[in-house]
């Protein structure tokens, strides 16, 4: 006699003659919570691969429960014929449908996309933000001007990281607050990053039509305690990459800096006329420069010698 009784497992077949049903296990989507700098994110998924990919970069920011009003990201599986696909949604709006291997970059872009509407209370500028000695430096630039590479290079030199392309300015406290997403490195920057001694997760590279091949660098892989805190902006640096150029850093007027920062703002009109007050207050407390960036080592040397 045995105490163990076995029950035959029902086979996943439908009525006699019908095509066999696809075996499936349904599970409620688990919700994981993160606080990425100043930004609360809730990720809902029951896809372990998607969760593992996100966790590999963001487990540092895990929270026990989602915060009220967190930015919601969802990954769910859908079937297109026999092909499984992953749908990535942010705040219940479908953004992307991709293969499982491409979930991570699209989660990043969904987060980026959602930030524009979810973080409206902040004044958002297309800029990398780095911190040294308690003061923040805003490197504002158009895409393709090396903000992320510069952020990684300065991080390797001991600066603290707040963001590589999404500067969030708290309009009440007039502070730059951290939103330390992973640093997006395009393939054109791989050699530069490697020359800085930073290990790149090249085996986890992705492809995006608009950006080409790229990978995501977790700032915690560059050095320990890499994330900065909310800080006043002490320097505004309008940045332009000119490959092969001798780097230069020239002072500019605060009006010029404010005018150009406005051009790099994502949500100027969310703040109405107050945005111009904010811009003026921001540059009044900062020294302003125009940077021509070239060789990354020389550029970093120049920045460190001039921005004190």
């Amino acid at each position: 006699m045995t105490a163990l009784t076995a029950r035959p497992t029902p086979l996943p077949f439908g009525p006699a003659g019908a095509a066999p049903a696809r075996p499936r296990i349904r599970a409620a989507r688990a919700t994981r919570a993160y606080r990425i700098g100043a930004v609360d994110v809730a990720l809902r998924t029951n896809l372990t691969r998607a969760l593992a990919a996100f966790e590999s970069h963001y487990h540092w920011y895990a929270q026990p429960v989602p915060a009220t009003g967190a930015m919601e990201l969802t990954v769910r599986r859908v079937w297109r014929g026999l092909r499984p696909r992953c749908v990535i949604a942010s705040n219940d709006q479908d953004r992307f449908e991709v293969a499982a291997r491409d979930v991570l970059p699209h989660l990043e872009w969904a987060m980026h996309w959602q930030s524009m509407s979810h973080l409206r209370r902040y004044y958002q500028v297309h800029a990398a933000v780095m911190q040294r000695g308690g003061g923040g430096v805003l490197f504002a630039a158009d895409p393709g001007n090396g903000k992320s590479t510069l952020a990684a290079a300065l991080l390797a030199r001991g600066w603290s990281y707040l963001s590589d392309e999404f500067a969030l300015i708290d309009p009440d406290a007039l502070l730059a607050v951290p939103f330390p997403k992973t640093i997006c490195i395009k393939c054109t920057g791989y050699a530069l990053i490697s020359s800085l001694g930073i290990p790149l997760p090249r085996r986890r590279a992705y492809h995006r039509p608009a950006k080409g091949r790229l990978c995501f660098l977790d700032p915690h892989r560059v050095r320990s305690a890499p994330i900065g805190s909310a800080c006043p902006v002490r320097h505004v640096v309008l940045t332009q990459l000119v490959p092969g150029a001798r780097p230069s850093l020239e002072p500019i007027s605060r009006a010029e800096a404010a005018f150009d920062l406005n051009r790099h703002a994502f949500n100027f009109h969310d703040h109405g006329p107050r945005a111009i007050d904010l811009l003026a207050a921001l540059v009044r407390g900062a020294e302003c420069f125009r940077l021509i960036s070239g060789n990354i080592h020389e550029t970093c040397d120049l920045i460190e010698s001039r921005l004190r």
Binding site: S253, R254, A255, E256, A258, F259, N262, F268, H269, G272, P273, A275, I276, D277, L279, A280, V283, R284
Partner: protein, 94 residues
Amino acid sequence: MSAAPTRRTDLVVHELDGEAILYDPIAQLTHRLNRTALFIWCHCDGRSSAADIARALAASFDVDPARADDDVRRALEQMSDNLLLDTPEAAPAA
């Protein structure tokens, strides 16, 4: 162009080290005025003519009067084009 141009008073203006940024809440546009342009704009008080402003500019910036005339004319044209000046009310038909 008005004989005595008047700057708009509904713009948000921030003077920054002698220059300025202006925000036009109607057009939702931001403008930047350099030192000379700010000087000219500040003198658009509805009483000073372009010639008056040019004289003041020449005296303050120590520039040739002909160049001051030219600078003021161009600046007023640009300000008018960018709607930074009040447009005089059209005279009512008789």
